[in-house]
């Protein structure tokens, strides 16, 4: 099967036109920026707080907006039209992820600038942020595919938001409750650890394991999303 960039950009353009007329989504995009202004304006925020805002941006835009886009396509049956077209799974996935990715990149960058956050090792942090964005998009696609409507996706996003935005504040409890050590391996925690090391002046070699774990999450979530998509293509 040939790969067609024309099909990918066609889906991207369609999503752009659709989203620009969707007040629900456009207001969601502004929320992380408002949070960044409220919590980061004094420039003295802790790394945990900065990454809470960054992760909130990643979850709200990367996951929630993406989940809403997919869930709405499912709800209105338009996803079926894409599935029945000559577009391949890769083309549809790329097309459906591109807009959310661009929006996530813009919002997260905007949040970072508003909070005056200067990462210690910019390339490492940027790579980790890009990988994290790809992970959150995969999570959004998965949630969108598994829910029946935009409303259902909006409900499911609440615990997801908690886990990926606020769970870093549970780190002190890990020593008391060893069962919580799994938290350490979540992509947001790896991102935070990487950022702390970068702030302390370490190089790529020291954050390699963090990046690898995030890559593992990226691969896992996208394989799962493709599997669910393929299952949805053909009803039993």
């Amino acid at each position: 099967m040939t790969f067609s960039m024309k099909r990918v950009t066609a889906i991207l353009q369609k999503d752009y036109k659709d989203i620009s007329r969707n007040l629900y989504v456009t207001t969601t995009l502004v929320l992380p920026l408002i949070m960044a202004v409220i919590f980061g304006r004094d420039g003295k925020s802790t790394l945990e707080l900065i990454y809470m805002i960054i992760n909130m941006g990643l979850v709200l835009v990367g996951t929630y907006v993406q989940a809403s886009l997919i869930a709405e396509e499912k709800e209105k049956n338009t996803l079926r039209g894409l599935m029945l077209s000559p577009a391949s799974t890769l083309e549809i996935f790329l097309g459906k992820n591109l807009l959310s990715f661009i929006a996530t990149a813009v919002i997260v960058t905007g949040s970072i600038l508003l909070m005056n956050y200067n990462p210690g090792h910019v390339p490492a942090v940027v790579i980790a942020l890009v990988l994290s964005a790809i992970f959150y998009l995969g999570l959004g696609t998965l949630i969108g595919l598994m829910t029946k409507s935009v409303v259902e996706a909006s409900v499911i996003i609440v615990p997801v938001m908690f886990v990926f935005s606020f769970i870093s504040f549970m780190k002190p409890f890990m020593e008391k409750y060893p069962i919580l050590t799994f938290i350490e391996y979540l992509p947001n925690m790896q991102m935070l650890d990487l950022a702390a090391q970068a702030q302390a002046g370490t190089g790529f070699g020291d954050v390699g394991s963090n990046l690898l774990i995030i890559v593992g999450w990226v691969v896992f979530i996208h394989i799962l999303a493709v599997y669910v998509y393929k299952k949805r293509m053909v009803e039993e």
Partner: protein, 282 residues
């Protein structure tokens, strides 16, 4: 003539409920094949299986000579057009933007948008936002979308159910033009008149089972007693049997200039459906 669709001993169960029972038929290239039956008879289930949206429980189905589960390949998708009862259009986008997406997906020039809109009697409506359109207009845009890439095989699930007579006629003319170009059309409907006008052959589906399959004309002829109904100028309506006696009486009335109209007593497809299945097509 080659078969575009082949279905053999197809069965489909949803849990323990049997939706299709030993369904077998084939559709020839360039044919308009009607799948007739009331709601819930298994028409949409069959289309879903034939377009690889639904797995059959047993039996074999092939389209263009390949098993239907292989239809996800790009070259087959480009040959197929599907119109379901669900319009599946992007409500916030214009008619043009909806069709442009599919032009790009099927690699069709944008100029084709105006041709297909004209085919469904919607020329000049391209800038309208989909959410503001009536159900009939939405159905016509869905048809236009299916016509965009000039598919070799078109699946139409109740394509004119929301249309008024004028637009229905327009769609029929469009479908006949596609047939002339060699498009094979698999049409499900419960409109007997539609089947009579469009279909080369029809299958009667009842409770998931094909009960009769043939050309509409043949089905009517097979069940005709060849009698005639005659309306006379004195207000009477008489039935004339076939054979010399009936012919003589017809001649006498004609000779006396007493006839207003003469009708064949061939049953309609609707009559035959009721006779075969004991059910009305609703």
């Amino acid at each position: 003539m080659e078969n575009v669709i082949e279905v053999n001993a197809l069965e489909k169960f949803f849990s323990k409920e049997r939706a299709l029972k030993n369904v077998s038929f084939s559709v020839k290239k360039g044919e308009i094949f009607g799948f007739l039956g009331p709601s819930g008879s298994g028409k949409t289930t069959t289309i879903k299986i034939l377009t690889a949206q639904l797995k059959p429980t047993s039996g074999s189905t092939s389209v263009f000579g390949v098993p239907t589960h292989q239809l996800s390949k790009e070259k087959y998708r480009k040959k197929i057009g599907i119109v379901t009862d669900n319009t599946a259009l992007y409500a916030r986008l214009s008619v043009y933007d909806n069709l442009k997406l599919y032009c790009d997906l099927y690699d069709v020039p944008e100029s084709r948008i105006y041709e297909v809109l004209s085919m469904v009697n919607l020329a000049g409506e391209n800038k309208k936002i989909v959410s503001k359109l009536s159900r009939g207009m939405l159905q016509r845009i869905t048809l236009a979308r299916a016509f965009l890439h000039e598919p070799e095989l078109l699946f139409l699930d109740e394509p004119t159910s929301a249309l008024d007579p004028v637009n229905t006629k327009h769609i029929y003319e469009g479908l006949m033009r596609l047939k002339e170009k060699g498009t094979t059309i698999f049409l499900t409907t419960h409109d007997m008149n539609e089947a009579e006008i469009l279909c080369d052959r029809v299958a009667f589906l009842n409770n998931g089972e094909i009960q009769l399959l043939d050309a509409p004309k043949k089905l009517r002829q097979q069940r005709s007693d060849a009698s005639l109904t005659v309306e006379l100028t004195d207000g009477r309506t008489i039935v004339l049997p076939k054979g010399p006696a009936g012919a003589q009486r017809l001649f006498d009335h004609m000779n006396a200039n007493e006839i207003i109209s003469v009708y064949s007593n061939q049953p309609t497809l609707g009559d035959i459906f009721v006779e075969v299945t004991g059910r009305n097509l609703v």
